[in-house]
Structures are given as structure tokens and as C-alpha cells.
């Protein structure tokens, strides 16, 4: 039996009251694929990521992750799926008051028992792996630093280390470099790619920066007003198509 696609969206849509954030999305993402999602602000990129990691339930259609319909799954089943998805956010979303080691270890929460998780807050467990992960992202010396004291680039690295420890099947990145300066952003992007290649992890990133998307990803999905405008390899994309994505209004010159 062939393995099901990692993410399968069938006519999936999200409405907030009367506002349609996403409309009739059909999308399959396979194992090990590296996909960039681009589109103007408000196109629904963040909603798509939230839909894929189970934070947001679809109001229409179906979202299957690892073959499971997560809207219909029980809490335990949903957490079982979520434990295999790592998400990285634009604003890092780390607990700033904790030391870096605990934020990294939070990657274990899906698999650790609660007792173990609580004990680890008192005396960190699995320090070896946390240190390895931080060394992998280049900040091994910040293991016991309070996360709030780290710079933006360092915090994003802690978030990536958390994903490394989690060893997910897919990494979802919501504007991972939009809060960083260009040089720092490029480093983070390189890191995400290397990790994806080394471990065969699927990478799906929403991006502001079209150049990085075209340059680094094998597949680019264009979102506009909550719909998929195109879904193709960069080489197959017409520059006019991309320009139309960001044009002020549909049909405007």
C-alpha cells in the first residue's frame, strides 16, 4: 500500500464569521518535499499553516495529515499527529522566561509524560540532545541563557532546535525570516534546508521574499485572496503570474 501524502487538502476552506480566509483549497504535499507558499499579506498564508498543524479546524472540506482527518480526530489522536509536526513562527512564540534548554526540551512534550516534563523544569533532562540541537543551529553556548535575553536570530535558532529535538515528519514555517535582517534570514533559511535534506523532513514555508522562494524551493504555491493561484516548480513559473499575485486588484493592469 503506498504511503498517503503527508498533507492532503480537499476543498478545504476557513471562514471567520462572514470573512473567508481560505476557499476550496486542494493541495497534496508528499514526504520529503520542500514547498514555499507565497502571496501578499492577508492572502491566507498563516491560516494555511494553522490549518496544516491542527491549530485551526476547516469550516469546509477536509484536511488530512498523515492520513488522518484531524478535525474529526479525538484530542489524543490529534496530539499524536501534532507531535510529528514542528512549527516555526515569525515571532518565534517561545516562552521568554524559560532558559533556552527548556524551550528546546519543549519539543519533547508530545512524547514525554507530564511528570517527566515537570521534573525536567526543575532539573533539565536530556541535556545532551538539547545541547546537540543548539550546537547544530550554531548557539551551543546559549544552553542555559534566558530565552528573552537572546537576539531575534538566536531565538529563531532556539525554535529550530526545538523542532530538531522533536524530530517531526514535517516542518511548517510561518514567515520564519520576516522578523530578521536579510543576512540573518538567509542563514536561517540555509539551516532549514540543510536540516530538511539531512533528515528527509518535509519543509513547508510561507515567505514574503519571492526571490528566496524561487531560488531555494522545488515547488512554489501562490496564494491570493484565500485561493491557490498557482502550484508549480519555479522553472515552470511565468514572471507575469507572480506579478499578478501581488497586483493590487484582480484584473488591474
Amino acid at each position: 500500500m503506498p504511503e498517503p501524502a503527508l498533507f492532503q487538502l480537499q476543498g478545504a476552506g476557513v471562514r471567520f464569521g462572514s470573512i473567508r480566509a481560505l476557499t476550496e483549497l486542494d493541495l497534496d504535499v508528499g514526504w520529503g518535499e520542500r514547498v514555499a507558499v507565497i502571496g501578499p499579506s492577508g492572502a491566507g498564508k498563516s491560516s494555511l499553516i494553522a490549518l496544516l498543524n491542527g491549530t485551526l479546524a476547516p469550516t469546509d472540506g477536509q484536511v488530512r495529515v498523515l492520513g488522518r482527518d484531524i478535525a474529526a480526530a479525538s484530542g489524543r489522536e490529534r496530539r499524536g499527529v501534532q507531535r510529528r509536526l514542528g512549527t516555526i513562527h515569525q515571532q518565534f512564540h517561545l516562552v521568554e522566561q524559560l532558559r533556552a534548554v527548556h524551550n528546546v526540551n519543549a519539543g519533547h512534550l508530545g512524547s514525554w509524560s507530564t511528570a517527566r516534563a515537570v521534573l525536567s523544569l526543575l532539573a533539565p533532562r536530556d541535556v545532551g540532545r538539547a545541547r546537540q540541537a543548539l550546537e547544530r543551529v550554531g548557539i551551543g553556548d546559549k544552553l542555559y541563557e534566558h530565552t528573552g535575553n537572546l537576539s531575534g536570530g538566536e531565538q529563531q535558532r532556539v525554535a529550530i532546535a526545538r523542532v530538531l529535538v522533536q524530530r517531526p515528519a514535517a516542518v511548517l514555517a510561518d514567515e520564519p525570516i520576516a522578523s530578521l535582517d536579510p543576512a540573518r534570514g538567509r542563514e536561517i533559511m540555509d539551516l532549514l534546508h540543510e536540516i530538511s535534506r539531512e533528515t528527509g523532513t518535509t519543509l513547508l514555508a510561507s515567505l514574503h521574499d519571492v526571490d528566496i522562494a524561487l531560488e531555494r524551493f522545488e515547488r512554489v504555491v501562490g496564494l491570493r485572496e484565500g485561493r491557490i493561484a498557482f502550484d508549480a516548480a519555479p522553472a515552470a513559473l511565468d514572471p507575469a503570474e507572480i506579478e499578478a499575485l501581488y497586483a493590487l486588484e484582480r484584473g488591474a493592469p
Binding site: 491549530t55 496530539r79 499527529v81 512549527t87 515571532q91 512564540h93 521568554e96 537576539s151
Partner: protein
């Protein structure tokens, strides 16, 4: 005494661009400083535990002479009466009257404190002195320093002590309660207003000054409008506090709910006590709701072009209308202030009170009582802090994804129940709690500590619940998105983010609690408050001043400790 709501600056969103410059500073600070700070923090924790244990020993916990088992049936009777309050028409009319009187005192006291606070606030602000003395830095610092210092004494003396003082020079008059609330509250308000003024952007003000307008006018046009919303929200918070104070002052005999409560307590008429307590809980609950409605409107982000909320305008009009009504209800008579007798008594009292005089036991007695008072405050805040931590989370409305309708209903019920419990705990004033504990405990530190602790638990629990509701939700969402269970999200996300705020609130309430030990002392629970009450009752003003000075020293000690701990919280 700033309410924490004023010092909280909402959610902190990391902004990498703004964080970059100070990165080098942080690195320069190095790891040595980091470990040093964490060591200091740990020492504070150890000190807190040791201090609490020492206070337990000082309070005589575990010894024979603490529990009065004979009083237990009385407590049973008392709580049994909760279901059968006295509800006949006569007593309800009396209760309504007393409630209105307490409300009237609170309104008038707040009004006085706002007048004092506005004048004092301007005079105590650096902004005012800076523009008054542009080039003479020495005069500026001296003037500012002197006004700030002048505010310390009225602020440090509790409403009840002010009340006892005015009672002895004026006698039982409504104005006593108004002055007793207005003066200390005025001094606190002045301090907070001056800080608000100094934190308000100064450019519009200096621009007006540069354009040649007078200082008063420049303040009115350039400084007050942006500062007004904060000052308004603080005023409503003060009003909320004034209601509790007015009830307590009633115990001294000036009338209102506190007075009726003390009468019913003396006669052990529990059913009457409960009627009065229910009235007090309703009054406090209503004031809480009103004040938080106004402040919530204030905190909500304002869209450009939107007008001031109707709630705020309506509340302002209602507050102004309440002034003359209150004066009429409490039969305010200002003429007593000008009477010759009042003046003579004041002069005589001031003459008697200097030089300060030690109590019969000398320094030993005074210092022993001071240590006992300190222990009382430590035990009270330890009890309140632990209890509030336990109750704050079930009382908080925290957004949580999903859940069945039955689960949601259960959660709402739990929130309502915990909030109700917290409201009852803080609506019953500490002296009333103390009278209750004195049924089963012998007079001393312990009943006072329990009374203050239970009351502070009600206040602190609400503060903590509100702060838990305001936590940044995004890190929690991120933890949930990777499959963490609810309890794990709580331990890794909620607890670390909430802890510094909770500790800060606990310290702030400790500063308040050491001042409030006077209140439970007055009903005989012990400590310096009891001595002060006895000295004032026997017209030993010299002794009272000495006690008061020691007490001020004690509050200063607590304030300094609290400030030091708070500093170590900032990483």
C-alpha cells in the same frame, strides 16, 4: 502603592530591530553577572521560606496557648446563620441606610483625595519643577525632593490611624471618615498622578511653553489631555479601595456598615451580621464591576475617530451626581473644622505628642511588638500568595481551543465559583475576619495574620487571575500545535510567564499588608496596632507618636526589601 494595572505595560512583542542595539550590552554583561543574579534570586527564595517558618514560630503555632477550642461552636453558629440572615423590614431599612452611608463616605473621601492628588501630583512631578526652575538645578531637585518627602508621611499612616486621630480632636462626626480616607488616599494619588504626568510624552507641553504660554495653561493643554485616561482609571480604582476603607472606618464608630457590624458582633447577633455582610459584598462587588468596566474601556485599543465610550462618560456624570447626594446622606458638616474646640484640641494634642514617649516596656516592648507585626505580615502574605496561586488559574478566563459544550459549561461554572469565593474573601474587611478568628484563637499574631491573609487572598487572587488572562497566548498556541497536553502547556507556557508577575503582585500586596496590620490590631488581634489603639484611647499621644515612628520604620523596611526583590526579578 501604585496598583499593578498601572505598571503593567501589556504584552511584550519581540521586535528584533529594536533588540539588536542592546545585544552588545547584554553580551558585555557576560555570564558572571547572569549566575550572580540567579544566585541572588535563589537566596531570596530561601529567605522567604526561612522568614515564613520563623514567623510561624513567632506566632506560636503548635503551642498550647493558641487555639481556644471553646469558641468552635460559636464559629459553627456563625456560619449556620449565613443561610438565615435577618431580613425583616426594619433591619433591611437599617442595612440600606448603613450601606448608603458607607457609599457616601467612600464618594466624599475619594473626591477629597482626587483634589489633593491633582494639586499634589502636579507639585510632585519632575515635569513641573523642571519648567519652573529651568536653570537652577539645585532648587529644582530640592523642591521636587521636598514635595515627594512630604507625601511619605500621610501615605505611610493608615486610614484607621488617621481616623483615630481625627476622632480624638473632632469627635464622632461624618467629616472624620472623609478626612481619614481623603488624606492618605490623596497622598498616594498625588504620587501616582505625578508619575503618570512624568511618563506622559513631554513634547506638546514643552512646545507650548516655548510658544510663550504660561505653565498652568501649557499643562492644561499639552500634558493633561494625554494623561487624563490613566488618571481617570486610577481614580476609579481608588474609589473601589475607598469603599473597603469606609466600611472599616465605620468600626471606629463613625457609622455605616462597619459600625453596624461592630454592634451586631458585640451582641453576637449572627443573623444581623450576615445581612450586613451580604450588603457589603454586594456593594464591593458592584464597585468592582463598575471600576473594571470603566478601566476595560480605557484599556481597549482606540480606533482613530472613535469617541469616548458611553460607559466612561456615564460613569463620570454619575460620579459627579453622587457628590451632593453623598454629602446629604452622611449629613456632612464642615463647620466643625472651624470650631474653637477643634483647634484647641489639635494644638493641645500636638503639644502632648512631642517628645515621643516609650511605652511602659521601653524599647524591648516596642521592638518585640514590631517583630511580631512583621511576622504577622509575613504569615499573612505567605498564606495569601499560596492560596491565590492555587485559585488564580481556575478563576482566569483563558482562551482554550476546543472542548465539548459540557466541558465549557463546567469551566464557566468553575470560573464563576472561584471568582465568587474571591469576592467574598475580599469583601469582608480584615477586622471582621479578625473578630471571627478571635472566636477560636487567643489574641495575638496568629488571628491577625489569618484575617489579613484571607482578605489579601481575595485581592491577590483576582489580580493574579486578571494577569493570567492577559498572558501572551501565542507561545501557548505554539506548544499546543506540536501536541503538548493541557497540563504540559500549563507547566511550560503559563507558569514561567506568570511567575514574575505573580511575585511582583505578592510583593506589592506585602507592602499593603504591613500597613494593614494596624487594622486588625484595632480589634485586638495584636502587634503594634493594638498598642497604638490603647495609647490613643488613653490619650498617651507621646507614646502613640513613638509607636507610629517605629511602625513607619517597619513599613520602610518592607518597602525597601520588596523593591530589592523586584529588582532581582528583572533579568
Amino acid at each position: 502603592m501604585t496598583p499593578p494595572a498601572q505598571t503593567e505595560t501589556g504584552q511584550r512583542v519581540p521586535e528584533p530591530d529594536r533588540r539588536l542595539p542592546d545585544l552588545s550590552l547584554r553580551e558585555a554583561a557576560g555570564t558572571g553577572a547572569r549566575h550572580g543574579r540567579s544566585l541572588i534570586r535563589r537566596s531570596w527564595v530561601v529567605l522567604a521560606v526561612v522568614g515564613t517558618l520563623a514567623s510561624l514560630i513567632a506566632a506560636g503555632v503548635g503551642q498550647d496557648r493558641t487555639v481556644n477550642a471553646g469558641g468552635l461552636p460559636l464559629v459553627g453558629d456563625f456560619f449556620a446563620a449565613a443561610l438565615r440572615p435577618r431580613l425583616d423590614a426594619d433591619f433591611l431599612a437599617l442595612t440600606a441606610n448603613a450601606t448608603l452611608t458607607t457609599l457616601g463616605y467612600a464618594v466624599l473621601g475619594t473626591a477629597l483625595s482626587l483634589v489633593l492628588g491633582l494639586v499634589g501630583g502636579v507639585l510632585a512631578s519632575q515635569t513641573w519643577w523642571r519648567s519652573a526652575t529651568r536653570r537652577r538645578r539645585g532648587i529644582r531637585m530640592a523642591g521636587w525632593g521636598m514635595t515627594r518627602t512630604a507625601l511619605v508621611v500621610p501615605r505611610g499612616i493608615h486610614e484607621v490611624v488617621w481616623g483615630l486621630f481625627f476622632l480624638s480632636v473632632i469627635g464622632i462626626e461624618p467629616i472624620v471618615a472623609v478626612l481619614a480616607i481623603g488624606i492618605p488616599f490623596g497622598a498616594v494619588t498625588a504620587k501616582v498622578f505625578s508619575e503618570i504626568l512624568d511618563e506622559t510624552p513631554q513634547r506638546p507641553y514643552t512646545a507650548l511653553l516655548a510658544a510663550g504660554s504660561g505653565r498652568g495653561a501649557a499643562m492644561l493643554y499639552g500634558l493633561l489631555p494625554p494623561a487624563l485616561p490613566d488618571m481617570l482609571s486610577y481614580s476609579f480604582y481608588r474609589f473601589e479601595c475607598a469603599i473597603r476603607s469606609a466600611a472599616i472606618l465605620g468600626l471606629l464608630g463613625v457609622g455605616g456598615l462597619g459600625y453596624e457590624l461592630s454592634l451586631s458582633f458585640q451582641a453576637l447577633l449572627y443573623q444581623e451580621i450576615w445581612t450586613l455582610l451580604y450588603a457589603l459584598i454586594l456593594l464591593c462587588g458592584a464597585a468592582d464591576l463598575w471600576s473594571s468596566a470603566v478601566r476595560a474601556r480605557r484599556m481597549a485599543p482606540r480606533r482613530p475617530g472613535s469617541r469616548t465610550s458611553r460607559v466612561v462618560i456615564g460613569s463620570l456624570l454619575a460620579a459627579i451626581a453622587l457628590l451632593p447626594i453623598s454629602a446629604w446622606i452622611v449629613q456632612l458638616d464642615l463647620s466643625v473644622l472651624g470650631e474653637a474646640g477643634t483647634r484647641e484640641l489639635t494644638v493641645q494634642m500636638l503639644g502632648d505628642s512631642w517628645p515621643p514617649d516609650l511605652p511602659s516596656g521601653g524599647w524591648t516592648e516596642l521592638l518585640q511588638l514590631a517583630a511580631g507585626t512583621l511576622a504577622m505580615s509575613v504569615l499573612a502574605i505567605a498564606l495569601a500568595f499560596l492560596g491565590a496561586v492555587v485559585l488564580a488559574f481556575p478563576a482566569a478566563r483563558m482562551s482554550r481551543a476546543g472542548g465539548s459544550p459540557a466541558g465549557r459549561a463546567a469551566r464557566l461554572l468553575m470560573i464563576a465559583a472561584t471568582r465568587g469565593l474571591l469576592l467574598v474573601l475580599r469583601a469582608i474587611p480584615p477586622p471582621v475576619w479578625a473578630l471571627l478568628f478571635l472566636f477560636v484563637l487567643f489574641p495575638g499574631i496568629l488571628p491577625g495574620a489569618l484575617a489579613l491573609g484571607v482578605y489579601t487572598l481575595g485581592v491577590l487572587g483576582r489580580l493574579m487571575a486578571e494577569s493570567a488572562e492577559n498572558l501572551d497566548d501565542r507561545p501557548l498556541q505554539a506548544l499546543r500545535a506540536q501536541g503538548a497536553a493541557a497540563l504540559q502547556v500549563f507547566c511550560y507556557g503559563v507558569v514561567p510567564a506568570a511567575t514574575p508577575r505573580f511575585v511582583a503582585y505578592g510583593l506589592y500586596r506585602w507592602e499593603v499588608t504591613i500597613r494593614e496590620t494596624v487594622v486588625v490590631g484595632v480589634v485586638g488581634a495584636g502587634g503594634l496596632g493594638l498598642l497604638l489603639d490603647q495609647q490613643l484611647a488613653t490619650f498617651d499621644y507621646g507614646g502613640a507618636v513613638a509607636t507610629l515612628l517605629v511602625f513607619l520604620g517597619l513599613t520602610l523596611l518592607v518597602d525597601l526589601t520588596s523593591a530589592a526583590v523586584r529588582r532581582s526579578l528583572h533579568t
